[in-house]
């Protein structure tokens, strides 16, 4: 177990290192990176350009630049946003809460609907409920989230007027604020729900067909007990393993959902940074997302080994 943990940890650090190399490499991919700090359409005199280069350390050798930059990252200094003239960490710190709330709410929604739906679908295999559940999952996996979001806005916000169009509704009373969460959470959670549903369904079908479930049935164990104690517990391991995959989905999904619903979170910051050519802000966001993803997948892997002792041995 300790060995596994150490290996996994080293691997995560390595991943972060390679990610940093990739982003740094991209910045130097095409042209002089100083152009990334100058807004297009502005004339800058050669002297100012040199001064700016010296300020950002772009006149030094490439290796030294990387080391300085990576060193700053390690110390938690992600640089300063070119547009807003504020530290990137401050900007992201302000927006983080909104993204986190949305992701957690969507995760809860996906889990508490997806897993039971998968179980029911497996138990009712071939019947109407099964088709219904699979249809819902199919929509989640074939329709783009941003389109579902827009159609949702059109139907529930514009046409019916039941739900607000955009924003987080900060400062409103609880019930009003909750309304702001309905559409974004549904849209962000639909994909993960479909994933959970499909995995749980196939895991349940596999387990229900296994020897020990047959034995339990042969012994005369009550049906409910067979399903929930013998089958469900074992089937639950597989949905756990896709937790990491789902996290990646949340990261990408958060960007899209925040753009559609004008949700004041980190994903929207990233897209605005792209529109404003704010290089430092976008790299900072990529970093934090990668870092979080690695931490979360580490946690998911640990949970996985706790849930299934067989993994630890292999």
């Amino acid at each position: 177990m300790k060995n596994f943990l150490a290996r996994r940890l080293i691997f995560s650090v390595l991943s972060l290192f390679i990610a940093s190399m990739a982003v740094f490499g991209l910045a130097h991919a095409k042209e002089d990176p100083i152009n990334l700090f100058i807004q297009p359409g502005y004339f800058v005199s050669p002297e100012t350009l040199e001064a700016l280069k010296a300020k950002w350390g772009l006149d030094k050798p490439l290796a030294l630049q990387y080391l300085t930059w990576a060193g700053n990252m390690l110390r938690g200094d992600l640089g300063e946003s070119v547009q807003q003239q504020r530290p990137v960490t401050t900007i992201i710190g302000e927006k983080w809460g909104a993204t986190f709330q949305l992701a957690i709410a969507a995760w809860i929604f996906g889990t508490i609907t997806g897993i039971p739906l998968g179980v029911v679908s497996a138990l009712q295999r071939g019947k109407f409920t099964d088709y219904l559940a699979r249809g819902v999952a199919l929509i989640g996996q074939t329709l783009p989230a941003f389109w579902i979001g827009l159609v949702g806005i059109w139907i529930f916000a514009v046409y019916l007027g039941w739900l607000p169009v955009f924003g987080r509704g900060a400062g409103l009373p609880f019930f009003e604020q909750a309304k702001h969460y309905v559409l974004p959470v549904l849209v962000l959670g639909w994909g993960p729900m479909a994933g959970y549903m499909r995995i749980t369904r196939s895991a349940m079908l596999e387990v229900l067909d296994s020897e020990y479930v047959k034995l339990a049935r042969a012994k005369g164990v009550a049906n409910r007990s067979v399903i929930w104690k013998h089958a469900f517990r074992n089937a639950l391991i597989q949905p756990l393993t896709i937790a990491t995959l789902l996290l990646a989905g949340f990261m990408d999904g958060a960007v899209l959902v925040e753009v559609i619903f004008a949700w004041p979170g980190v994903g929207r910051v990233a897209v605005e940074a792209v529109n404003q050519n704010d290089f430092m802000l976008i790299t900072g966001t990529v970093f934090i997302f990668t870092f979080l993803y690695l931490v979360m997948s580490l946690v998911a892997d640990l949970l996985y080994t706790v849930a299934d002792p067989r993994i630890r041995l292999s």
């Binding site: 990334l36 783009p144 940074a273 976008i282």
Partner: protein, 316 residues
Amino acid sequence: MSTQIESFGVNPNSSEKTSLFQYPGTVWRFIRRWPVIPIVILAMLVFLALFAQMISPHDPNTQNLRSNLARPAWDNDYYENDRVGSKIAERHLLGADLFGRDVFSRVVYGTRVSLSVAIVAMVSGTILGAWAGIMTGYYGGIFDELMTRFVDVWNALPFLLIALVVSITIGQGVLIMIVLLVMLTWVGLVRNVRAEVLSLKTRDYVSAARVAGASDLRIMYKHILPGITNLLLVLASLRVGGLILTEASLSFLGVGIPSRIPSWGGMISDGRGTLDEAWWISFFPGLGIFLTVMSMNFLGDWIRDRTDPRLRQLKD
């Protein structure tokens, strides 16, 4: 698969009796057995993409302020009685957008862009992934270890955000989009291909070839590659849908296909601002994505069930 087609919503008229199909059940059985519906839909989309110039009634980029936000053609009231609509010479089949560009023509041209980008990316990504998978599986050792780690790291990168960085540093374009999608595709294949190659490598016929003096390259090409073609076909066909979705997401965010080229994702984004008065701008490109991705997924499922006996046994 067959059961999924049922939920596709097509109910062949059971009372219909043609000379070709003597019994109504035959048609139904044929539809259940073969992926007729996905193939018909995909064939139609490919047709639209190939003959976009001839099919689309308007130029996809020509702006016409007279038909600004014109409603779809079935809205008779709009085209006959409306103050603005009655002045439009030719009805727009699926309406027009804010600049009066014909939505149907743009959807047709968008089909061309989305399909070609996804297919080119899928083929290149599959070739790259197959190559990497065969090499890692066949040679093993330090190369294998490095590649496996690399694939793990690659999977941990937030793809959408990396694409945002690329759009700032390198720019936007169809080619860049394809390269990004290839980058996304190939890693997904390496692990599967590698596992298959590992098992093929120990087969007797491979050992026999080696004893007979075949070079590594020959063994890989003549004996291993044919063994994984089914797997490649299945993986590739199951992934196209995802590629189309990713391309649309990036274009929607304005970092994918440049806005001067009509693309489905870009059109959905165009319609966002006028959602309350013109739903058709965003709705129809989304429908295009839905039909394509769903057909691709059904076809991929069907190919998987058909070609891989092991997976067919597991079939739910």
